[in-house]
Symmetry: C2
């Protein structure tokens, strides 16, 4: 079923202990679309400047991403510059130039308005609702957000949350949004704000999925080859939503597989700079890593004789 | 099969955001023994002062812990005082009084020398080897250590590591020991130091098990009721080693169940102060939480049609 994404497209300049790149393809909607495109068609709403290389647009279109909602405006493309230290866990933003992204007013082409799956990337919550108002009757809406909106536009964010089915945040954002340190209690509180499902991303430690009745813990794949974490969270969301949209179901079993596939896509995204690894990725590699995740995390049912005769205990 | 543990017994004074306790039962060997005792008999080697309440000794003996190796000396028992802030992740040590523990020279009663499973708690690596020299032919030896020994007695620690089958450390310790930030690379390096298995404990995020060929990721149970993290790591090791010793096998399937059971015991230990929760814990509760861990982490094999017809990708 059609999947719509609205978010940023950027030219990133990234420095890690392993190297640096200037003005390479980045942005939340870019990683999301590419990751989701392995599972089905994606409709993209974003804006770029007149300096944006056409080869990137062609790359996305070549992956089955509908770019009719990609607006090209006079001016420069959004630029982000960041550095990662050895721990690779936290991005240190060196420079942000919003450029044409500062005036982004998402407009959906008529052909997008029937989209059934919608992902509202990390943009102003006012704009997230502006997108929702243009979609006729979405079946499943997920959104992302960040500390900046939680702090500066809390009321608007809460209004958006009342209208979405699912929220993706990291653990610090979950704590901040719920004003509660314990992540389980924070999750329970957030589920009273509107969404019926919540993913708490924990970087190299994996992710937790909370629904009203269920909790699911997905481990991250322990990588020796972690290279550039930029885009990991967006690739995760793209793998998740891409799989969900391809199934047309949102029961717990599908969500569990979706969160694992999100982790699979994220684990590939971070193996090289920018979208380099996602560009060469194949479905067979996705299948193989999904199987590795299973081997990594599964364990037997206990035998009936968990406790030996003669052991203490009640 | 008999399981021997050497380590500390302490009287802890603990402060958390939820309350405080003075001079309550603590120490690595105490948590370890109690957790392991659910699976079979434990032989304890430790030292306490003449101020140590006899009721604690009787508690351990009542759980099937052989206390003939518990030495009672003139002087005061080891005391540790610590505080946890709201994140509950890191203990801030306020005071350490080694007292009789400063002169601890572990001596094994004759009846302990045939022990097949051995856990060398976090003590001076010289003393860890002193214990090993008194055990005739152990089948499986595991040890714990900490940043203090990694830094101040590295050569001695490496000598101990050459003689053990398994090491338990947290992720910061693994990085420090291997001098390598990436935890996968750090683990690979540590496995060249001697142990054939390594557990990297990650607190609220779970644990990783590395062997020469396998990696296993165990999630921690997401707790709303986290109360006092003291003893979590020792309860984890106790559950792990207790189960291993009860099986008399160390293949990968048994180790996977053992690491999950370690997580189960740790998840109970932190629900109340000191050993209060472990004291009321039952085998049925352990079985039930093991089953909850499975529900928490397991997901289906992918259907054959992971990728829908018509999706992009190769």
């Amino acid at each position: 079923m059609p999947l719509l994404v609205v978010g940023s497209i950027a030219l990133d300049s990234v420095e890690t202990p392993f190297g640096r790149r200037e003005d390479v393809l980045g942005g939340s909607a870019t990683y999301f679309s590419t990751a989701a495109s392995f599972f089905g068609p994606v409709r993209l709403v974003a804006t770029v400047g007149d300096d944006f290389p056409q080869e990137h647009v062609e790359f996305l279109a070549g992956r089955g991403v509908d770019v009719s909602g990609l607006e090209r405006r006079a001016g420069r493309t959004f630029r982000w510059k960041g550095r990662y230290e050895f721990d690779l866990n936290q991005a240190h933003t060196l420079d942000t130039q919003l450029n044409v992204f500062a005036d982004f007013k998402p407009e959906l082409p008529a052909g997008y308005r029937g989209s059934e799956y919608v992902f509202l990337g990390n943009i102003d919550p006012d704009l997230q609702r502006r997108v929702l108002e243009q979609v006729r009757s979405p079946r499943f809406v997920a959104c992302d957000t960040m500390n900046f909106w939680i702090q500066s536009k809390r009321d608007s964010l809460l209004e958006t949350l009342r209208r979405v089915d699912m929220l993706f945040v990291n653990d610090a954002e979950a704590r901040q949004l719920a004003d509660e340190h314990n992540v389980v209690k924070a999750a329970r509180r957030i589920l009273t704000f509107g969404p019926r499902a919540l993913v708490v991303k924990r970087g190299e430690y994996g992710a937790l999925l909370f629904t009203g009745e269920h909790v699911f813990a997905a481990s991250a794949y322990p990588l020796a080859a972690l290279f550039d974490p930029t885009g990991a969270g967006d690739s995760f969301a793209g793998g998740f939503m891409g799989y969900l949209a391809s199934r047309g179901r949102e029961d717990v079993d599908v969500m569990r597989r979706a969160i694992v596939l999100g982790g699979v896509l994220a684990s590939f995204a971070v193996e090289q700079f920018s979208l380099e690894r996602l560009k060469t990725l194949t479905r067979d590699e996705i299948r193989a890593r999904y199987a590795e995740f299973r081997r990594l995390t599964h364990f037997d049912d206990l035998e009936l004789d968990l406790f030996e005769k003669g052991a203490a205990g009640r």
